[in-house]
């Protein structure tokens, strides 16, 4: 029941972002459980969108669905954003905790679900000439989400608008850095593994 109420609150929030995000944090209108459900819903939406978008607008090979990759391609960037957000705002006197960041960011994703699910149905009844409407709403959902993410960051950390923009740029750079370090880490790990494996092989073959 609490989740349901919280979801209904998210519908109010995306139209009234300033009050909405404030209450989300200070009036405890949001909770982690709902946030996770929203992220799951976004992942589900994108999988449905990949598989069920009408033939005219769908240029992916339907038989080659890898559901894990699809889920990870939503969940990983989300948490990457949250972690980078926390890292940057901790250094920049942000007031939000990691929990706040996760909740706010998740709630900001609601337009993606809200617009994309009807779009899937819509895509099945339009022709190529009407595809402009489709892409308009597609872009609208993205723009709306990005605006909400920025406003959410601003409200949660109590930043001014310019400071928020600066922070957001830093967050994106931070995300790039995290990816870089992760790749470096795994590459090193792989080389270490290869090194020890060669030693093992050498010994095993000599004995």
């Amino acid at each position: 029941m609490e989740v349901l109420g919280s979801l209904r609150y998210s519908l109010y929030m995306i139209f009234h972002p300033f009050d909405g995000f404030w209450d989300l944090k200070h009036e405890k209108r949001g909770n982690l459980k709902t946030a996770m459900i929203i992220v799951a819903m976004v992942a589900a939406t994108f999988i449905l969108r990949r598989q069920l978008t009408g033939f005219i607008l769908n240029e992916v090979k339907l038989s080659e669905l890898n559901i894990i990759v699809e889920i990870l391609s939503i969940v990983l960037p989300f948490f990457l954003w949250c972690v980078a957000n926390w890292c940057v705002t901790t250094l920049m006197d942000g007031e939000g905790s990691f929990r706040d960041i996760v909740i706010t960011s998740a709630y900001a994703l609601v337009p993606l679900v809200l617009i994309n699910v009807p779009l899937i149905i819509f895509s099945n009844i339009i022709t190529l000439e009407e595809a402009a409407f489709y892409s308009f709403f597609d872009v609208l959902s993205l723009v709306w989400t990005v605006i909400l993410l920025i406003l959410g960051t601003s409200v949660v950390h109590q930043y001014s608008l310019t400071r928020t923009f600066l922070t957001c740029i830093c967050i994106v750079v931070g995300m790039g850095l995290i990816i870089f370090i992760a790749l470096l880490f795994f590459s090193l790990l792989q080389q270490m593994y290869a090194f020890f494996y060669t030693i093992y092989q050498e010994i095993a073959l000599r004995l």
């Binding site: 033939f55 005219i56 240029e59 022709t127 190529l128 000439e129």
Partner: protein, 502 residues
Amino acid sequence: MRFKRILAVSIIFILLCPAVVHADDPYSNYTYDFWGTPVPTPAAYVPEMIVDGVSLGIEPFNKPSDLFVGPDNKIYVADSGNNRIVVMNDDWKLVRIISSFNKEGSKDSFKNPSGLFVTQDGDLYVADTDNSRIVHLDADGKFVREIGRPVSEIIPDDFKYYPTALVVDKAQRIYIVALGCNQGLIELDSEGDFVGYTGASKVKFNMVDYVWKMIATDEQREKMTNFVPTEYNNINIDNDGFIYVTTSGVSLEDIDYAISTRSKDDRYAPIRKLNPTGTDVLRRNGYFPPVGDIVFRSRGYAEAGNSQFYDVCIDDSGIYSVLDKKKGRIFTYDVDGNLLYIFGGIGNRKGNFRDPVAVDVIGDNYAVLDFNLNQITVFRPTDYGRLVKEAVELHLTGRYDESAARWEQVLKYNANCELAYVGMGKAYLRKDEFRLAMKYFKLGNKRDYYSKAFDLYRQEVIGDNFGLVVLAIIVLYIGSRILKRIRTGKKARIKAMGKVEA
């Protein structure tokens, strides 16, 4: 006893069964589907015979470099190493050897002739490469004129003129491909006077290179490659006077880019079709632009490396075939740029090539000239290849139903043939069977046509159920009004309750 009888019957049965006929072609037969994956297909063309000096009863060919099929299906071969032109009829019997001609009283001969063209009247034009001239002979092989190095102030003095291929259009204008000439084709008028360059490919502008050039020093700048158009390596002309030119100068990265973007323009095109003003008009409406192999980085049916186009031939219905010199394949496309079939291959078996340099069409057959093996390989269509060709031709002449019947048969040979699905879809679309048309366009991955069929289908559905649609709209409207009223009523009650409590 009974066991023996069963055994005997089964042995007879096995013997009576026809052996499985295994088509053993010396190359793999494949095509590319919508996703760019190589998929196996039945053979469309198979090697039928090999023609060389021995079979003609003459001295063997020596590094022959061009083959041209003239009117009456006479076949002309530029036997460059022997400095002669060999003429055959379509039974592959020798007609004539032209090794010398009488030029104004004195005997003259060719020196490394590497390109030739025969007009509809049977006049023979030879690109006499090492003599830096074009030789014009009449249908009997008599000397008419020679056209030397074009004279113009825009041709630099140090330009070495080596014509390698040429065509002559119906107005007797001559278009020449010359070695090391990247300004396009050299166009001469009917008198043989220089008119200008035509058909040069557009120079690609690369922002990154430009920026580098701006910050580079003069020495560095000199070492960088210049932005120059690609050089053509061969030329052909179709019945309508459109000129087809090929080039092998497009880089692998550019070809890769054209493939991944399914490019329709001629910027990175290894084959162009030029109209009289020298503009590219080739239709590239296939799943991929006509660039030869689509997959060339990974292992599969196609080996590594992109196709290097070296020759092109066009048949009467506008189906054109391009020769990939590197992998010895012939790619055949229809007027719209759909890939029809691929055949041929480099190898050591009969029917393989070592260094194919020229391809031309003779009736239904193809002849491919091999520079290294000194022979001509003749390919004939299989039933499958014939069906595909007929289906395309019938569709072009407007006989859609017959075309669809051919496509249906094609599908029995090859369920992978997306073109056949599209062909059948078009036939159903014309018959107003939109559902079926949609089904076939979907199988053929043809989204634009699917959209057309769907549009008409949608109209049909709405038209048939017009009453229902109107009813649904009315119900929805009334329903929303009632819902709104209930909601506002509820709100008002809550408000009232709040007031009472207060």
